[in-house]
Structure formats: C-alpha cells, structure tokens
C-alpha cells in the first residue's frame, strides 16, 4: 500500500519545508544590515493604511505649495535607521517633484522638494529665514521648539532644532529644515529615536575623563597619545567605531553617554584632527566613538 504512505509523507514534507522556509525568512528579516547592501526595502502594508498616508501627504504638499500629484505610495523599511515609513512620491509634467515620508502613525517624517528649482526671489537674511522656517515647519505639520542652530549654506539656509531631554541633547534627533536663499521651502526632516532608560547614577566628569584616558592609552599603547579637551553628556546611538563585531548601522536606541573628545598630542604623527570616545554614563563602558580626519 504505497499510495497511502506517500500521501502521509507529503504533508509531513510540506510542513517541514514550511517550517524551514519560515525559519529562514525569519532569519533574513532579523539579519542586521551590512555595509554595501541596500538599506531600504519595500514592506507589506494594508491598502487602507497607504491610502490614509497618501491623503495626509497630499495635504502637506498642498500646504507647502509643492507641485505635482501623488503617483506612488509604498511602505519602506529603513534598515540603517531601524525605522518604517510610508513614502509618497509626487510628479509633475517633468518628473518626480517631491517626496513625503510619514511614520506609520501618521506623523510627518520627511518632505523634500525635488528638482533643484533654486531661489526665485531676493535673498533673505538670518532673521527672515528663521521666520520662514517656522512657517514652513508649521505648514508641514512638524512641531519645533527651542533655540535653533541657523547655518548659511551655499544654497540657502539650514535651520536645526536639536531634540533635548531634560536639557541634554539627543544627537541626531530633532528637526532639520532647508530653505532656498529667498526663504522658500526646500526640505525638512524629523528624527526621533527611542531612548534607553536613564542610569540610576551618572558618573562624574573627573571619573569619565580618567576612564577615557585609560581607553585611549590602551588603544594607542602610550599614555600621552591623546590630549583630552572636553567631556559632555549627550544621548548617543551606539556605533561600531571601536568594536567591529557590532552591527554596521548605529543602534536604534540612544543611550545616555559621556562624549569625551581629544586631539592627538603634538608628539604624535596623526592624520586625525579630533577623536571622541562615547562612554555609557552609568557604567563607563565604551558604546562608540567618532573622529574628524
């Protein structure tokens, strides 16, 4: 009686295959992003959710006076940032005219006016630029507060409202808005990453300077290699600058850290201008670092 035995075997094989496929799919979904790979990819979303996102994006586009009509809506996963966004592309007669990205909860994340249209009116000064920036941010539905950093760029103005928690900056988070020279809208983005629990006890500055000096000496093999210049508290997303076993993308959760900055001492030949080690504010462990070359 072969047939019945075969018929019992197939469901078992299919079940095993399904389990294996499911496992490998899961493994793929959870594998960390690696340098060289595409960092964004489309992910499944309900049509109704995408429809709502598109309607919201169209409202933002109208309020900012951007040209074109929505022609594509998709949910994308940004594997570098560990975030998911609904991305809506607008087109006019010439081609793509704007990109709007929303968080799945409807909060605006990014608006970019494409095409390098440039300024059409007379250039504005710093105060007028800030006034325009506030108006554009409000129109686009981005909430800003506090004193921004205003930077004159080659093409206009960059206005940045840094996110702060209890007065401590969350580096990389906040609202960044670009204006053309005449104050018209170019682009805006809002970043807000998860924060880890604040340590119950925070190391004092003298202690972290000692720890940083030891770490620098350990790395360089001599104690006078680096001159420590400053130490300050900030929320930082861990990176792999000091540890290649960590993922290629920065962590998705920011930790309270001491940023200890130093420069090569004069008796050391070095190509770098400034180095930083990030120490966990609670236990002093290295969570990352940075360098200016």
């Amino acid at each position: 009686m072969h047939a019945p035995r075969e018929s019992r075997r197939w469901p078992a094989l299919l079940l095993a295959g399904a389990v294996l496929a499911g496992c490998s799919g899961l493994a793929l979904a959870e594998s960390p992003w690696r340098a060289g790979e595409r960092s964004s990819r489309g992910v499944a979303a309900q049509a109704i959710d995408l429809g709502v996102a598109r309607t919201r994006a169209e409202a933002i586009q109208r309020r900012l006076g951007l040209p074109g009509r929505a022609t594509a809506t998709q949910r994308i996963e940004d594997r570098f940032e560990g975030r998911v966004f609904d991305q809506i592309t607008f087109e006019d007669a010439i081609g793509p005219s704007a990109i709007v990205e929303l968080e799945p909860n409807g909060r605006p994340h990014l608006v970019v006016a494409l095409g390098w249209r440039g300024a059409k009116g007379p250039a504005v000064g710093r105060h007028v630029a800030l006034r325009h920036a506030l108006a554009h941010a409000r129109s686009a539905g981005f909430q800003v507060s506090g004193e921004p950093t205003i930077l004159e760029t080659a093409d206009g103005w960059e206005v940045v409202w840094e996110r702060r928690v209890d007065g401590i900056p969350v580096l990389g988070d906040g609202v960044r808005l670009s204006l053309w020279k005449d104050g018209s809208f170019h682009a805006i983005v809002h970043w807000e990453h998860r924060l880890a629990a604040r340590p119950a006890k925070i190391l004092d500055e003298a202690t972290v300077r000692r720890i940083a000096a030891a770490r620098f000496a350990e790395r360089f093999g001599r104690e006078d290699a680096i001159e420590i210049r400053s130490a300050r508290l900030a929320w930082m997303r861990p990176n792999d600058l000091w540890d290649p076993s960590l993922p290629d993308a920065p962590g998705t959760e920011a930790r309270l850290a001491w940023l200890v900055a130093g420069a090569p001492s004069p008796n050391v030949k070095s190509g770098i201008r400034q180095a930083e080690v990030w120490l966990d504010a609670g236990d002093g462990s290295v969570i990352g670092g940075d360098v200016i070359q």
């Binding site: 340098a35 060289g36 081609g95 095409g115 390098w116 440039g118 940045v160 990176n239």
Partner: protein, 252 residues
C-alpha cells in the same frame, strides 16, 4: 520607489546630451567603465591613531557596491595598495572615483594651495595627492561620478572638481551639464555623519533617483552635528550610471 519613474525624469537632458555627442565627438564609453574606490585606513587605526576606526572599511564596501550597482567596473583599494602613484596611474582611466581620507587645502611645492587628500600607503601620514596632480594626469578627460569623502572637498574654494573636468555649476531640473556629478563635504565633518550621508546617498541612487535627488534625500539624514554640510556640482537629473549618456535604458 520605482526606477522607471525616475528614468523618465532623466529623459530630456539625456536626449540633449546625445545631440551634443553627435556634434561634439569624443569616444563613446562602453559598459563597465572603470571606477576606483580608495580608502585610507592605516592613518586612522592603531598604531597610527589612538582609536581604531571601523567606519572606514564600511565606507569602502558601500562605495564599491554602489558603483557596481551603477554599472561601473569598481575596484577598492586600501593600505599599501592606495598610494599616490596608484591614484595617478589609475585616474587616467577612471570614470568614477571615490576617496575617503584626510583632506584639506594643502600648499603645493609650487607655492600655491590646492585641494588634496593623503594616500594610505600603509603609512601614518601618507603623501598628499593634490588636485593639480590629478588634473595634469587627466588632462581634461570627462568624469562621471566623483565622491571626495574628505573634509574641505566641497568648500567654495575647492580645486578638486576641476581636476575631474567638472565645472562648479549646478545644472538643475531643466538644465544639463553632461553626465557628471561631484560630491564632497564642506569644512570639517565627523566620520559618523559622513557615513550616514553616504549610505543614504548610495541607497537613493540604487532606488533609481537621479544624483541630485539622491543628494537632497541624503542631506536629511540623522546627523549628530547641526552644522553638517555637503555640496555638489554637476547635473542634478543625471542617473549616476556610468558612461557618456548616463546608461539610462529608457531615456532614448
């Protein structure tokens, strides 16, 4: 984001480029044009530096993969393989070029200052590769995509774009300055911010955005520094793909 949408966007200027070719002469480049990716790692790791830098090798991997996706025959070099002599020997055949190193406006032996960057050469402080040296070797040869991932490479007074025959002009949506694009950083920038910018730029290009749109998109990354700045010159609507017409199959 669908690539065809972006490729239609690139159509009119590319048609103009082809017309220009018909009257302008010059050899038509074949697919797989050479791109060189040079990354200085020695200077930024022990024993040369106090802190090991694991961002630089990622930049190398990301740039090689990105240039390959754009149709270049891309090869990466680092350590003893990335020397001044190597740069100047390969640049003659480069359509694409990427470098990550220490960069500045260096004083040349001729007494003038030029934008440049340091070779790796497995030395803590390598020799400077000046824009003047590259310009002399290339002798006006056209470039495609040039990304100088160093401090000061896109300062207003940078001399590097000219070395690759890229005018410091921004050709916008309805303009066309040939299939060329130069990207660099303004002033001093942290490596982590450069890394954020670069991976966003490469990914946007892979999504089929033109180089200008990819630049605009990359500019809105999660940068630690409020004063992060990059700049560009070239043709905003170009695809970034290798070759004299940009390698866009749906444009003509």
């Amino acid at each position: 984001m669908g690539a065809s949408r972006w490729q239609r966007f690139l159509g009119p200027p590319l048609a103009l480029a082809i017309l220009g070719l018909a009257v302008g002469a010059g050899p038509v480049a074949a697919a797989g044009e050479q791109a060189t990716i040079d990354v200085n790692q020695t200077a930024f790791n022990p024993p040369c530096d106090d802190d090991a830098n694991f961002i630089a090798p990622k930049m190398l991997d990301a740039a090689v993969a990105a240039y390959k996706r754009l149709g270049y025959g891309a090869t990466g070099f680092t350590g003893a393989a990335f020397t001044r002599a190597h740069v100047l020997a390969r640049t003659v055949d480069d359509w694409g070029y990427y470098v990550h190193s220490h960069g500045d406006l260096f004083r040349h032996p001729d007494g003038r200052r030029y934008t440049g960057f340091r070779e790796d050469a497995a030395k803590c402080v390598g020799a400077v590769v000046y824009s003047k040296d590259i310009k002399a070797k290339r002798n006006g040869r056209q470039s495609n995509l040039v990304f100088i991932s160093t401090c000061h490479s896109a300062d207003p007074n940078t001399t590097m774009p000219d070395a690759f025959a890229i005018e410091k002009i921004k050709a916008g949506q309805l303009a066309w300055n040939g299939p060329e694009f130069y990207v660099g950083y303004v002033g001093l920038q942290w490596d982590s911010d450069e890394w954020v910018f670069e991976q966003r730029f490469w990914d946007a290009l892979a999504a089929g955005m033109g180089v200008g749109a990819a630049f605009d998109y990359a500019r809105k990354g999660s940068f630690r520094s409020a004063t992060f700045q990059a700049d560009w010159w070239g043709s905003y609507v170009w695809s970034g793909r290798a070759g004299l017409i940009g390698g866009c199959p749906h444009c003509v």
